[in-house]
């Protein structure tokens, strides 16, 4: 497939370029971009690839971030334990959210996950003893074992995040393209009833998609927590979900790597817009979502795939599953 080399070049360049420039500010931006890339791809696995629309990924992301921050702050856990716990808690809650999804489709699933994220935000805001309330959790430390400060720390943190994000992305690409689960996911997206009648275990594949997607979203949250070193309730807000969906739609649904690319580009655009004014980046996100949903459903990833059979892929992610939601 012709997109492989392109993908590899973009991926390698993304990882290596910041190391060449080696300025703390550049490394900081690049690190954050990769965290968003992991989150956007995790959303794509569930919503773009499997067609189960989640409006609650901010919630899974926040669960990971808060679990990591709270266990490190209150129990003194190292970042390695915090990362594992954060991903595990998010995966468990995601699996829990997957159960209603066994019965619900389209609109209903989107709305229930939106409510779940709001519930998580409400708990973050009000469970003062553990979450620190509106001010959030801080002073809980960073990645264990990295150099204390300066360029060396920025470099090490970047490499660590890059490796974890690459492993997460690789895992998702592997599951989607090299295992039977990938075919199961696509079958659910295209026509769930048909898939079921063909003997595909849609229940198991749906739960798998929920578990992997929310677990990796949680992992991205733990990276965010240890990198930014502050977790506050705004992380769980609908604006975060909107940003993630914007990144995924921008990059191209149902490809896993498209949303990662979209996340990096949109994050760069957003940071650029900061020079004009902080409020403009979410305006841009809203515009990107609207323009791409209406005119470019395949996103940037689709621009090179015109002749392929993927013409309807971007839409299929949402129309296939959503059609029966009404």
């Amino acid at each position: 497939m012709s997109r492989r080399p392109l993908l590899a070049i973009v991926g390698a360049a993304t990882v290596l370029l910041p190391l060449l420039v080696a300025h703390p500010f550049v490394l900081s931006l690049a690190t954050q971009a990769l965290i968003w890339a992991l989150l956007a791809s995790s959303w794509d696995l569930l919503s773009g690839y499997t067609g189960q629309i989640s409006f609650g990924h901010a919630g899974f992301f926040a669960l990971g971030a808060y679990t990591a921050a709270a266990t490190s702050k209150h129990l003194g856990f190292s970042s390695w334990v915090g990362m594992a716990l954060g991903a595990a808690v998010a995966a468990l809650v995601g699996l829990g959210a997957g159960f209603p999804a066994l019965r619900l489709r389209g609109h209903y699933l989107a709305l229930v996950t939106l409510a779940l994220a709001e519930l998580i935000r409400l708990v973050a805001q009000n469970w003062l003893a553990v979450t620190g309330g509106p001010f959030g959790i801080y002073d809980f430390g960073s990645f264990t074992g990295l150099p204390a400060s300066g360029l060396a720390r920025a470099r090490a943190a970047y490499l660590l995040v890059a490796v974890i994000a690459a492993v997460g992305l690789g895992l998702m690409l592997y599951v989607c393209h090299k295992t039977r689960a990938g075919r199961g996911f696509r079958a659910i997206r295209e026509d769930e009833v048909l898939a079921e009648s063909l003997g595909i275990n849609t229940t198991a594949y749906k739960l798998l998609a929920f578990g992997v997607s929310s677990g990796l979203a949680g992992l991205a949250g733990t990276l965010y927590a240890y990198y930014i070193q502050l977790v506050s309730p705004t992380v769980a807000s609908a604006a975060t979900t909107s940003l993630v969906i914007g990144m995924a739609v921008f990059g191209g649904l149902g490809t896993i790597w498209g949303p990662a690319l979209g996340a990096i580009l949109l994050f760069a655009i957003n940071e650029g817009l900061r020079f004009i004014g902080v409020v403009y980046n979410l305006i841009a996100v809203g515009l990107v979502i609207m323009v791409f949903v209406i005119f470019l459903p395949r996103g940037l990833a689709g621009l090179r795939l015109r002749r392929k059979e993927r013409t309807l892929r971007g839409d299929a992610a949402m129309t296939g599953a959503g059609g029966s939601g009404a």
């Binding site: 209903y108 709305l111 519930l119 305006i283 809203g286 949402m318 959503g322």
Partner: protein, 262 residues
């Protein structure tokens, strides 16, 4: 006992406010099959227009309310030709499914942050449009709230009659935002929690079911009002989310919905 009655009455009034918001959403869903995630942002627009008219320009309150409704209505007029119709054209006969949801989520983010860019993040206070309190037994309801109920009830009939449902539905939300501006404050994200509550209400009542939406609004309003007896008030907002998740797990078609609704 008296305080219980007081909570009940306040709950019914709160439910009334929710109903009028949820009904606009239900009407739009019923006619266009669009779940408008940006509904609350039109509510916020109404609040801002009222703030600009009454506080900044010192116009009479009635004029401010009309301007709010008109402002949201005109914005709403643009939504169909600019967003929904082009998407429908591209899709042809394929169903839009959840694309409308994602599209209006984008609109919500766009409008919310545009309001932030134009009006800033400050909480704007608006004085009551009418003063005084209507005594009901041991408790009282401010005429401001009564006004909201009456005006919106009239608005529902209007929106049902005309075919410009989307614009009228969000226009209604705009008037609601204006009338409720003195009760809440006005800030960019003021409408979004209401949207989610309205989702909870429409799901509890049965998607697209007007009578169900009214009944569910009262239930949520009373439940929110009563729950503060047992838990601290900052958890009050969780009621709607929990109800929504519970309903979807136990009875996805809602109270009055048909069983094939999912």
């Amino acid at each position: 006992m008296e305080s219980l009655l007081e909570f009940l009455i306040q709950g019914v009034v709160l439910g009334g406010l929710y109903a009028l918001f949820a009904v606009g959403l239900t009407l739009i869903f019923g006619v266009l099959n669009v779940i408008n995630v940006a509904h609350g942002e039109f509510f916020a627009v109404g609040g801002y227009v009222l703030f600009a008219a009454v506080v900044l320009l010192h116009l009479p309150a009635a004029l401010g309310v009309v301007a709010s409704g008109l402002g949201a209505f005109l914005l709403g007029l643009a939504v169909y030709p600019l967003l929904i119709a082009p998407l429908n054209r591209r899709l042809g006969r394929r169903p839009a499914g959840s694309l409308y949801l994602v599209l209006t989520l984008g609109l919500s983010t766009f409008m919310q942050s545009s309001l932030l860019a134009i009006g800033g993040g400050d909480y704007r206070q608006v004085p009551p449009l009418v003063r005084g309190i209507l005594e009901i037994g041991p408790t009282g309801v401010s005429y401001q709230r009564v006004l909201v109920l009456v005006a919106q009830a009239m608005g529902i009939n209007l929106a049902r009659i005309f075919s410009l449902t989307l614009a009228l539905g969000v226009g209604l939300a705009g008037v609601g935002g204006a009338l409720m501006a003195p009760l809440f404050n006005v800030y960019p994200a003021v409408g979004f929690p209401l949207t989610i509550k309205a989702f909870a209400i429409t799901i509890l009542g049965g998607m697209g079911n007007l009578a169900g939406a009214l009944l569910a609004s009262l239930i949520i309003g009373v439940a929110e009002s009563m729950v503060v007896i047992v838990v601290p008030s900052q958890w009050q907002n969780g009621v709607a989310f929990l109800v929504m998740i519970a309903v979807l797990l136990l009875r996805p078609q809602g109270l009055l919905g048909r069983s094939d609704a999912r």
